[in-house]
Symmetry: C2
């Protein structure tokens, strides 16, 4: 197997692109692909300060590495979601990764703000932890970026993530979601930061290979709560499609983006400011503040019960 | 496992519908579902003569049986595609099935018209047999129905067939095809017969169970040329989705139908009459006549070569 670019020994075969590449040309391919995604979808304005959400997983660390190499002024935001030992190990990986790079790392611990990590909050409020975790992370990321004057927040969503979301939206024909899914979600309000997914055209396998070949040490552990998540199932379904017909994943996503205007003639939800924190929401009180409020209410009720039984 | 309707012992569990049913109630469920499909999509006009395309497989025989039980005046059309022993065995099954029913069977042999069956035509013209077979069957069915004064042609496409087609159209975002896929394709021209798929909301597994429980002897053989067909792969992909989330298939298809108007704002191809047979086509000569023409040309050239070598 020879590299298509230089005829040296190839290290990876990309069936979806009908090419095999050596290490150097593969690393260049990845950088080139991200730059093309940024240019095509006008993801960043030249000179823009970019906040990268770094969980410690392969995708976010690869994204940070690639954006830095492409010359963007990046800073990292890591949110400690308070998941048992998992979060502590993720945080260590992120700190080690950023320590070697000339870029600031911002840390936010959910536990300090909410008084509990995601698993306790989920069990206290009897809600599934994954959707709760996603909602709270998005909230904190947007608030942090806005308060610190960042105009763009970049996340490491890769083609498999985007494809799985698209498959979910398509199989239940969620027209509203279909109208909005994109590598770039531009800000539609001063309180909403632009969200960018510069890895959206790179397959998960390509991002993984990038980390391995670049020597990036990432947090390999799966979150203990993610087992059985719908997105995982959808990824498997897409992998079967890709197995039968290489290139299906990228075609599915790119042809969707080309035709997306079809879905855009939809009603948008009216946004208002949360009565507690002032962030944008479709309700009177945003979900984040609702969760914190319930949490405080239930711990107050618990301490009242303890007080009553003591008294 | 008890029947949801009558508490007798259930014979089948329908996870997508959250029910288990006994034999009698399952057979009634199937009839009811087909009648609801016919009503919902206004598939047949009361008293309409319906031509059912009967290949001999489970779907077409179940369709014939169900439509007859629902009181429709059905007649069968079987096209012998000239595939080695496969077609002969299919024809025997269809003749046995129709002999027991008070309904006419029309037979058409492609070999008599074209001078060869699908495999020879495919190899002579170096074309893939499956698309050729589909094109020629559709042509003969439409022509036959039109010439014999039928206003509707019913085929046994089930939910898995429709889902696989939809998945193919969605993964490559074929907007034109998405605009047209439906349990009912109304006639848009006097030369085009209305096409109906009354089993479109019944899963393949449900149709199979119907045949087994009703004692319908169908042609079980897979066509020797269908191996590796894209539709089979798409069915497997959908089955994986269904396994993870029961009800996915029917939701995918029904929600699509609800939202299909989104795709309808598309260009339609201009239709003209074929210069040879007068049927409708987007080209000067329709595909069927093009194939027959090439076939005759190549056999004439072959006999010329034989004549020349003899002379």
């Amino acid at each position: 197997m020879k590299c298509k670019q230089c005829e040296k020994k190839a290290v990876i075969r990309l069936r979806a692109h009908h090419i095999s590449l050596c290490r150097e040309d593969f690393l260049a391919f990845v950088l080139n692909r991200v730059q093309r995604t940024i240019d095509k979808y006008k993801i960043f304005v030249p000179g823009e300060r970019v906040l990268v959400a770094v969980s410690g997983g392969k995708d976010s660390l690869a994204l940070f590495d690639i954006l830095q190499r492409l010359g963007y002024a990046v800073e990292g935001l890591h949110i400690d979601m308070g998941i048992d030992g998992f979060s502590q190990r993720a945080r260590n990986v992120v700190e080690d990764f950023l320590a070697k790079r000339d870029a600031p790392l911002h840390l936010h611990a959910l536990g300090e703000e909410a008084g509990a990590g995601v698993p306790e909050i989920a069990s206290q409020l009897q809600r599934p932890p994954c959707s709760l975790c996603g909602m709270m992370r998005r909230y904190v990321m947007n608030r942090f970026a806005r308060e610190k004057g960042f105009t763009a927040l970049a996340t490491g969503h890769n083609l498999d993530d985007e494809g799985a979301t698209l498959l979910g939206n398509v199989t239940s024909w969620q027209i509203g979601y279909l109208a909005r899914q994109s590598p770039l979600l531009p800000s539609t309000h001063p309180k909403l930061v632009t969200k960018a997914k510069p890895l959206a055209l790179l397959a998960e396998r390509e991002v993984l290979a990038y980390c391995l070949l670049r020597g990036i040490e990432f947090h390999e552990e799966q979150c203990p709560h993610s087992k059985g998540a719908t997105s995982r199932n959808h990824k498997e379904v897409l992998n079967l499609l890709e197995y039968y017909s290489p290139g299906s994943k990228i075609r599915f996503y790119q042809e969707f983006l080309k035709n997306q205007r079809i879905f855009s003639a939809i009603e948008s939800h009216a946004l208002q400011e949360c009565s507690v924190c002032g962030s944008l929401t479709t309700r009177e009180t945003c979900q984040f503040c609702t969760v914190l409020g319930k949490l405080r209410g239930s711990s107050r009720a618990a301490s009242d019960r303890i007080g009553a039984s003591k008294g």
